[in-house]
Structure formats: C-alpha cells, structure tokens
C-alpha cells in the first residue's frame, strides 16, 4: 500500500465514479446468494461451514490463497518471519514412500473438537455454532496456551503494535489470531472465503468452501468427487477442513 504511483486528478475522479457505480449497481445485476442469512439473524448450527482441499490441484509456486488472505485481513508483516502472523501458509511435502513432492495449503482446520478451545482459560477461543473456530479478541489475554495445544500450528500471536489494520479485520498486539473462514465476509452473504476466491480466480480450484448442509455447495460436490481425509486423525478432532490427494 505504500509507494503508490501518483495518479492524476482526472484519473482519480473517473475511478471513484466507477467505484461508486460498481458498488451501487452491481448488486442489482448479480443474483443474490440464495442461502445468505439476513444480517440481523444469529448464526445457527444448521449451517456447517467446511472446506475441502484437493492437493493434486494445488499448484507449485502459487501463493494466491496466501496473498488473498493477507489482503483480506490486512496481515501485513514486519519482515520478521518468526513473529509475523500467518493464517494460511503453503507447505512443500514429500511422500516418504515414493518421494513424490506435493504442495498443500495449511490453515486452521476448524475442528469440531478443537483442542485450542478446550485449553483456553477465558473461553476466548471458541467455536461458533456454525462451525467456525475463532478467537474472541475482546477476551483473549494472550497466554498462548492455545498455540501450544494446536496440532497444526494454525495460530499466530501478534507480537507488535499494529497500525494498518483494515476495517473488516480488527487485530492487535497481545492477542492470538487465526483463520476464521472469513467470518465477516460470509456473514455478509458472500459464499466464498478470500483464499477460495483467489484459488478459483487462478483457475486451480484446489480449495472448495461451503455449507455442508447445502447439498449443492461446492464443498459437498468436492467431497463427493474425491475421497477426503483429515490430518492427524489419531487425535479424533473431526476437522471441518479435509484434504484429498494426500
């Protein structure tokens, strides 16, 4: 967001105009999501958000999902890889049997029995009834016990003062944070997370997100197409994020 090229005033006015018109008119020409919940309604357990990741489709060298997440949630780092937050990251893995190399995105697995929530002393780590595991940053005291408990290293601690947060994703020093399935987006009726959107935009379609209760959802069709499995199934955490192809 820094060092942007200077744009002429006219250019700028034209762009603002387009932006305004886009915001005002596009909703009309695009069909609304059928299952979108009214903003005033509380989430219910009838909705079951889930994600399926097809590892065979995940492209080497592509970081579209990671970039989109950074963009969506304002996760700008400080070039300190050890302390910068990562909600989704890409791993390169090698099969120990046939030496095949694959890449996978790793993110919060949104367990149905989340260890992070079991250990959290204040209950700030919680599972929303629609299956999203997240941190209530208003009650998080920053003890980091959840990070000790997570088998996937899905969580990050904010190690410094932040100033460039985006309005849609507040975050700040001293609290733990992690992927929340873009709760803010989906509550506003968008049926895709930033990472899935980016992956589809790239044409890879490795990530499929959606509601398990909705038979037509993308995640359900992905689950039907291929055998999915959970990581660390020995812990019986019943994650909502599943993988096929590994």
């Amino acid at each position: 967001m820094k060092n942007k090229p200077t744009t002429s005033r006219r250019d700028f006015i034209v762009k603002s105009l387009t932006a305004i018109s886009a915001v005002y008119f596009i909703p009309d020409i695009i069909t609304k999501a059928e299952s979108a919940k009214p903003l005033a309604q509380e989430v219910t357990s009838d909705t079951k958000w889930a994600m399926s990741i097809d590892v065979d489709k995940c492209a080497k060298g592509c970081t579209a999902c990671v970039d989109a997440c950074v963009e969506e949630n304002g996760l700008y780092g400080f070039d300190r890889p050890e302390t910068d937050s990562q909600w989704i990251r890409k791993l390169t893995i090698k099969n120990i049997k046939d030496d095949k190399i694959k890449v996978v995105p790793m993110l919060c697995q949104h367990c149905e029995n989340p260890p992070c929530c079991d250990v959290c002393p204040t209950g700030a780590s919680f599972r929303r009834v629609d299956g999203i595991v997240m941190v209530n940053q208003h009650t998080c005291i920053g003890c980091r016990y959840c990070m000790m408990a997570c088998p996937f290293k899905a969580r990050s601690f904010v190690h410094e003062n932040l100033t460039e947060q985006v309005t849609n994703a507040p975050r700040g020093k001293g609290c733990v944070e992690s992927c929340n399935f873009c709760a803010n987006r989906i509550d506003h009726g968008i049926s895709t997370t930033a990472c899935e959107e980016a992956c589809m935009k790239e044409g890879h379609n490795a990530i499929s997100f959606g509601d398990l209760s909705d038979t037509k959802s993308r995640v359900n069709s992905a689950l039907k197409k291929k055998d999915n499995r959970r990581l660390r199934s020995d812990l019986s955490l019943k994650q909502r994020v599943t993988y096929s192809g590994i």
Binding site: Y24, F25, T31, V43, H138, E164, Q165, T167, D187, H188
Partner: protein, 160 residues
C-alpha cells in the same frame, strides 16, 4: 432505456450528495468535517448516545463476534465511518487522535479506551461488500474488477 435513465440520474444524485451516500470514504465536500456533521441524528437519540454509547458497543461486540449478527446500526465500523473527519486533503483523520470525535470527551472524563489498538481508526480497506455470489465466471470478473477499483480508491482515503 427508462431504467438506464434512472440509474444515470441516480448516479448524478450520488455524486452531488456524497456526504450521505459516499462509500469510498473520501470525498471533497467532506473536507474538514465528517459525514455526521451533515446528519440530523445519531443512530439513537443524542442524549442516549452521550450516556450509553459504550453499552451499545459492548452489546454489539458480543452479538457480532459470538453470534455473527452483522446489523449496521450499532456496528463499530459504522460509527467510525460516519463520525470520522477529513482533513484539507480529503484524508481521514484517525478518530481517536487529539481533538477528534472519540477522544475529546474521553479526555475530559478521563476515560481510556484501547479499542483502536485493533480496530482501524479510519475507514480502511474493502467496504463490507455487496451481496454477491460467485457461481459463474462473469460475476467473477466483475467482483475482481470492483475489488480492484475499491482497493485502489482506498489508497487515496489516506492511511495512517
């Protein structure tokens, strides 16, 4: 054709009364003031707001974070959007900086709030977006475009 004319009219209307409708967070007629300056009333009667604004905020905060309720009326993001002022360059001034809306009264009453260590003190980033689905390619293209434009415009609304 008829529809188009209405839309055109509407867009002109939007452009001439940006205080009311502006969604990009910056507008030249807002310089030196906030959207609230040209409004009659807050989201609740003013006397109630003066005494109980934090009750609404605390209530909304739990409703939103735990139950996923996203009503706009008491939303924190919305307070900031409406109450933030713009400087002579049309840049939003952090709402908690000296002399600004969320700060002046609090100094007088020695209230200390930490909300802005996490919450953006100016409208920043993508607006809470229109309702769209992404079931087909065409829409994809449009969202992409919209987002790009909005993000770009966001650059102007002046961070920091």
């Amino acid at each position: 054709m008829h529809q188009l004319a209405i839309r055109l009219l509407l867009s002109i209307l939007i452009l001439v009364t940006p205080n009311v409708f502006s969604h990009d967070g910056i507008n030249h007629s807002l310089i030196g003031k906030s959207k609230a300056d040209s409004q009659e009333q807050c989201v609740e009667p003013t006397e109630i707001m003066q005494k109980e604004h934090f009750v609404f905020l605390y209530h909304q905060r739990d409703k939103t974070v735990i139950k996923g309720v996203r009503t706009k009326n008491h939303s924190f993001a919305n307070c900031i959007d409406c109450h933030v002022s713009y400087d002579e360059k049309g840049k939003a001034i952090p709402i908690n900086s000296e002399g600004q809306f969320c700060q002046t009264c609090h100094v007088q009453t020695a209230v200390n709030i930490d909300c802005f260590s996490c919450h953006a003190s100016v409208p920043r980033g993508r607006k809470s977006v229109a309702k769209i689905t992404l079931e087909n390619e065409h829409n994809f293209h449009i969202t992409k475009l919209t987002n790009e434009i909005i993000n770009h415009v966001g650059d102007y609304s002046g961070e920091k």
